[in-house]
Assembly symmetry: C2
Homo-oligomer: 338 residues x 2
DNA sequence: TTAGACTTAGGAATCGTTTCCAGTAATTAC
DNA sequence: GTAATTACTGGAAACGATTCCTAAGTCTAA
């Protein structure tokens, strides 16, 4: 149907001028007479011409496209980050190509290759892997700037949006302690991942401040995701030495833990103190007044967009720190237990 | 840094052959000798050459890119649809450009224009608007096939994934009636939108089957989204003629209604029967056993990908129907009330 | 040995832009 | 009135691939 695309040739022919002149008018170049401008603009309007983005990209060497790689857009936190970043990039004239890595390292590598082939102008990514030779290599070979989410980057030509997890977790832990909890369990992902490490730091600081020794048996650091947290929670509350409070790292972990607690008939805020790290949609409506540590995903999206645009504009890499705030609700109150 | 991109020229020079020969080898063309193949492949491997997707697209006239437009990727249902579609398209060699329309008609128009300029190979969209001259025009002018989500398309060169909302709602309503409810309120979006219309159809059928007259005062059809549902729910349960059961259409509406019910201290399944249309993540864990009408978002994503690929392969437009299933839980049980 | 058929490789056009380079026309200065 | 400057414009070369067309080379058959 609309097979016959209108090109700059058609416009030039209609206006009776050279192709280069049309281009000059359209790009707002200065050296163009009023008469020329009028002629071209009339032809453009009449034909309904719109420049082909593909050809422009090829010629200019810039695609105005940002690759956004994420483990799983289904994660409500990251879907907000993505949305907010997209909105911001859009305003700057960029489109966003979205790719899920499904937490798979091979997929991640492939995605970087795809980005490269597509000549993306920049990448915002929440990586599976931590800092490693592989990561450094890929980022260097990419030939485009990179912004990492929740990763410490050192000596790499990349910016990062990092959340100050420690701060919020520290506050939360302190509050649990103040409420009489000493035996606090912590269920989260691998310790060598930045986000876990950072959260644990806050946890340990608060414990140390209160002169409470951390019980290693209560530190369940293995995998992100629902299943691991489910199993660990079940296990934590089956033995003799049971915690009185529970902190769960991330949305998946919180879900798994809540599922387990439900089955164990332990009600957060009644039978056990509970703090979830990160919130999800309808958090306040749906959860029975769960306390949380909150970080603003929209802000994360905005910052990541800003950072990548800065890098594209050839500014030096930098970091944006997003604060986290403890939101006490009834689930972290004192618990009389064991 | 990696400024000097490796092109097909470099490969040709290194292998000592013509550019066209390199292209022929790489595209797996038949008429190429073994010796040539070996030479070229060696050069490709040595230089680490990867063809430029941009140049390929320009020449071939296909970008292997699908535009995915959605009101709001933050909506958990649609984020799953997007993820699933992306996964499927990826397997077929396509990438996905994601754009939010924020439910804004102007943004939607702009997005279509963007897709066109980017020479997208196809579009999957959840439109703001219903069938209208504007929609027909844009889709026809787009020059690329379109798959619409939850829209009836008639006489349009587009496929659609439509959910059989009526079926699930009918079952749910029948169950509410069986449980003794006669005064059933229905809070949802505008009646002229396909999804609402379809749901109401199921509702009215069940009511009609049970010979219960629909009380127009209980039909609160205005806007999608949290706020409207919140207000309407508050209003429904403030007057003298109060319903005993409530059905809410969509995740936003359910949230708003639940928030209102919470404030009104009406507990679903205890003080009022309640059915939510659509589920959201952790539905079973977080909600107090809410009944729901479920549709499989992953299936929606898969089907939309399949349909767009079919259209690109020049098959005739078609429709995929995704079933909905009523999932009774304790919130829809009988309520002794007023 | 030569004509004809068949492989295979190279050259050039093309996709739709931008941008550099000349060159013409208009303007100013002397 | 001529030279020097300036203001525009058109032509052509990129960008990096694919593909058509042609020609060279190989092989078979008479």
């Amino acid at each position: 149907m609309g097979k016959n695309r209108i090109t700059i040739h058609d416009v030039a022919a209609k206006a009776g001028v050279a192709i280069s002149s049309v281009s000059r008018v359209l790009s707002g170049h200065l050296d163009v007479s009023e008469k020329m401008r009028a002629k071209v603009e009339a032809a453009v309007a009449e034909l309904g011409y719109e420049p082909d983005h593909l050809a422009q990209s090829l010629r200019k060497g810039a695609t105005n496209t940002i690759g956004f790689m994420i483990r799983d857009i289904t994660n409500p936190l990251f879907s907000i980050v993505a949305q907010s970043a997209e909105h911001e990039l859009r305003k700057a004239g960029y489109s966003m190509i979205l790719i899920n890595s499904h937490g798979d390292l091979d997929a991640e590598k492939e995605n970087f290759a795809l980005f490269k082939r597509r000549r993306i102008d920049g990448v915002i990514a929440s990586l599976v892997s931590e800092d490693s030779p592989y990561v450094r290599n890929t980022i260097n070979e990419l030939g485009a700037p990179v912004v990492l989410l929740d990763r410490e980057v050192t000596g790499l030509n990349a910016s990062a949006v990092i959340c100050d997890h420690a701060q919020g977790v520290k506050q939360a832990t302190a509050d649990l302690i103040k409420n009489g909890n000493k035996k606090i369990a912590f269920v989260s992902g691998r310790k060598d991942v930045f986000i876990s490490r950072n959260r644990i730091k806050g946890f340990e600081e608060a414990m140390s401040d209160a002169k409470i020794k951390v019980d290693e048996n209560f530190m369940r650091l293995g995998k992100f995701g629902e299943e691991f947290a489910y199993e660990q929670t079940k296990d934590l509350f089956s033995g003799k030495n049971q915690p009185t409070a529970l902190i769960t790292g991330g949305i998946g972990a919180s879900t798994g833990a809540l599922r387990a607690l439900k089955e164990l008939k332990l009600k957060p805020g009644k039978d056990i103190a509970f703090v979830a790290l990160d919130e999800w949609p309808m958090f306040d409506v749906l959860t029975a007044d769960l306390s949380s540590v909150y970080r603003d995903p929209e802000e994360m999206g905005r910052q990541s967009a800003r950072l990548i645009l800065d890098l594209i504009a050839d500014e030096a890499p930098s970091q944006a720190v997003v604060p986290t705030t403890y939101r006490p609700r009834s689930s972290s109150k004192a618990v009389v237990h064991a």
